[in-house]
């Protein structure tokens, strides 16, 4: 049709050539990512303009024009932020009204958290055998350190506050909501009608009611119904509600993961003689949880931020401390955004850390490319 001969062959094979300079290196990256289309060019330029408008004033306000020294609001005379309170008040942001002579106990509880979590997450640490036991015992150890008793001075839970309170409530919620969520997810897929109905009812009820409502019910209504002798610590009540709330969402996230596991995986396990719990633990859950990591971390982060709701039982977590300082006689009128900025920084560090860790975990668990 084209008039060319049908048979053609190559006398010499082509040699490899380097890629054009415009497609590799910094220039290549910018072309591909920032200036690939006219829309992209416009977006890039607008973003740069926006940054130029906002970042320098923010840096000026936060650092360059800020006042760092002083003992009261009247010392803050500059244009910028007033950070003079940091020196006397930072411990209150971190520990709330926890007694100063017991700070070491809170510190130790947080420090011990590192190995406790480490031994749960990483299989190949030294002394792994004892480490697991330590992880299991950690909640008791931490509770003992924080609350006291048995020789240590008792700290009432209404003295808890600051970021330590957010950490305690958040970590308790995270540690408990995952297993409860797993059980609820399995329950919802169970063949036993009672288990299934209970799980569905629980999940749908909790998801259908705002968290703040649940908290009010637990704090204000519950004592009316319960006999007088039964008194549950208020902080415990809040933590239970926050945990259950997160568990319901967790259950749905994990159910999504479970549904993504092909039937063949269950069958292979059954055919080899593994029981239900063995199959779940060894075959199904490791895969389902891996798929669910983004959703799980999402729920964790949500839970962690919900810990600021302890304010409704009159406890001053880090956000409460931020508000408290704004209305303080010494600092009134001089300090407002600053304290929120500090609280935001604390939250950001933890939440961003969780998010980075989850990305790292996903990469590490990816068995398809290695």
């Amino acid at each position: 049709m084209t008039g060319q001969p049908f048979h053609r062959s190559r006398a010499e094979m082509l040699q490899e050539r380097p890629a054009p300079i415009t497609s590799v290196g910094v220039i290549g990256w910018m072309r591909a990512n920032l200036f690939s289309t006219w829309l992209n060019v416009a977006l890039t330029l607008s973003a740069l303009a926006l940054l130029a408008l906002t970042v320098p004033p923010l840096i000026d306000w936060t650092f360059l024009d800020a006042t760092f020294a002083g003992s009261a609001g009247k010392d803050c005379t500059g244009e910028g932020a007033c950070w003079a309170w940091l020196d006397q008040r930072i411990h209150q942001f971190v520990y709330g009204f926890y007694p100063a002579e017991a700070y070491w106990r809170a510190n130790l509880a947080v420090v011990l958290l590192v190995p406790a979590v480490g031994y749960l997450l990483f299989a190949n640490l030294p002394y792994a055998r004892y480490g697991r036991w330590f992880s299991l015992a950690y909640p008791v150890i931490a509770a003992f350190l924080l609350v006291g008793g048995l020789g240590l001075d008792v700290v009432r839970t209404d003295q808890f506050g600051g970021f330590v309170l957010n950490l305690v409530a958040g970590i308790t919620g995270i540690v408990l909501s995952l297993p409860i969520g797993i059980l609820l997810a399995l329950g919802r897929r169970s063949r036993m009608p009672i288990v299934r109905t209970f799980s569905v009812a629980f999940i749908e009820f909790i998801r259908g009611v705002p968290l703040i409502t649940l908290l009010f019910v637990a704090i204000i209504l519950l004592p009316i119904f319960l006999p007088r002798e039964v008194s549950l610590d208020q902080l415990v009540r809040v933590m239970v509600i926050i945990t259950l709330f997160a568990s319901a969402y967790m259950a749905e996230v994990i159910r999504g993961g479970l549904q993504a596991i092909p039937q063949g995986q269950y069958e292979a396990g059954q055919a080899m003689g593994l029981g239900y719990w063995q199959s779940m633990r060894l075959i199904v859950l490791p895969q389902a949880l891996k798929i669910s990591i983004p959703g799980i971390v999402n729920t964790f982060i949500g839970l962690f931020k919900d810990t600021t709701l302890v304010i409704i039982i009159g406890l001053f977590d880090i956000l409460g401390q931020a508000r408290l300082l704004q209305t303080n006689q010494d600092w009134l009128g001089k300090v407002d955004y600053e304290t929120f900025l500090l609280a935001a920084l604390f939250f950001f560090v933890i939440c961003f850390g969780m998010s980075r860790y989850s990305i790292n975990l996903e990469k590490r668990l990816d068995t398809t490319r290695r």
């Binding site: 292979a268 059954q270 593994l274 895969q287 068995t367």
Partner: protein, 258 residues
């Protein structure tokens, strides 16, 4: 039939290792298995074929209770399959199964795939389980892949791992459900070779397959199923050369014509 003839033939004085009597099964209202009677002797090798939807998979899945039957008796190695969970566990330990889609565990290495059941079901020490796994991985000719993940292997290699994984439980019976149907043509032979090799060890095998060369080479008996029933069964030569039923003839003409 080269190595297949060498070892002792099936049966002998013992009872059949699998006894299926009057088996009926329904999926909802659909009568999928109808009055199946099947005796399988120890060391016997059976190939099951038949058109799609004829109930071949369902039949062999009734043997390890991946499917539950409603009528009739299924007795495996002297244990009857009932609702008794103990019996089901006992039988699953003795019966290995290889699936069309391999069903390897993607989050575990090849070696871990192979040692999982021995460790958790047979309560075998890890080191011993690993030794056995390496023995079978060598048998299926991929010991060097032991530390890789299934996702990094070719289909043929994955299916050989799946066979090794089943063998690590040292089962008395092996069930194969179309083990080569999901494979590219160039990989079918490597899997069939492993199965022929396994046949040489005297394993009792029930194989659902349309690989007629394999059936001729290895099977003691070929069973043809259609519409949930066993339509015809015979030893391979006669089955292929002189089928009796019209359905069998039609089926054979269809699969042999390409």
């Amino acid at each position: 039939m080269p190595e297949a003839e060498a070892e002792a033939g099936p049966g002998g004085a013992e009872d059949p290792i699998i006894q299926i009597v009057g088996l009926n099964k329904w999926f909802g209202a659909f009568h999928v298995l109808r009055d199946i009677d099947l005796m399988v002797e120890a060391r016997e090798r059976i190939v099951i074929c038949g058109p799609s939807g004829s109930g071949k998979s369902t039949l062999i899945r009734c043997i390890n209770r991946l499917e539950e039957h409603q009528e009739g008796r299924v007795v495996v190695d002297g244990t009857e399959l009932t609702h008794n969970l103990k019996n089901i566990d006992v039988i699953r330990r003795e019966v290995g199964m290889v699936f069309q889609q391999f069903n390897l565990f993607p989050h575990l290495t090849v070696l871990e795939n192979c040692t999982l059941a021995p460790i958790w079901v047979r309560k075998m020490p890890k080191a011993e389980a690993a030794d056995i796994a390496m023995e079978y991985l060598t048998r299926v000719k991929i010991p060097e892949q032991a530390d890789k993940y299934p996702g990094q292997l070719s289909g043929g290699q994955q299916q050989r791992v799946a066979i090794a994984r089943s063998l690590c439980m040292r089962p008395k019976i092996m069930l194969f459900d179309e083990p080569t149907s999901a494979l590219d043509p160039e990989m079918i032979k490597e899997v069939l070779d492993v199965m022929v090799d396994l046949a040489g060890t005297g394993m009792t095998m029930l194989v659902v397959t349309h690989e007629m060369g394999f059936a001729r080479q290895v099977a003691h008996r070929v069973i043809f199923m259609d519409e949930g029933q066993i339509v015809e069964q015979n030893e391979p030569e006669t089955f292929f050369n002189d089928p009796r039923s019209d359905r069998t003839k039609l089926f054979l003409s269809q699969i042999l014509s390409h």
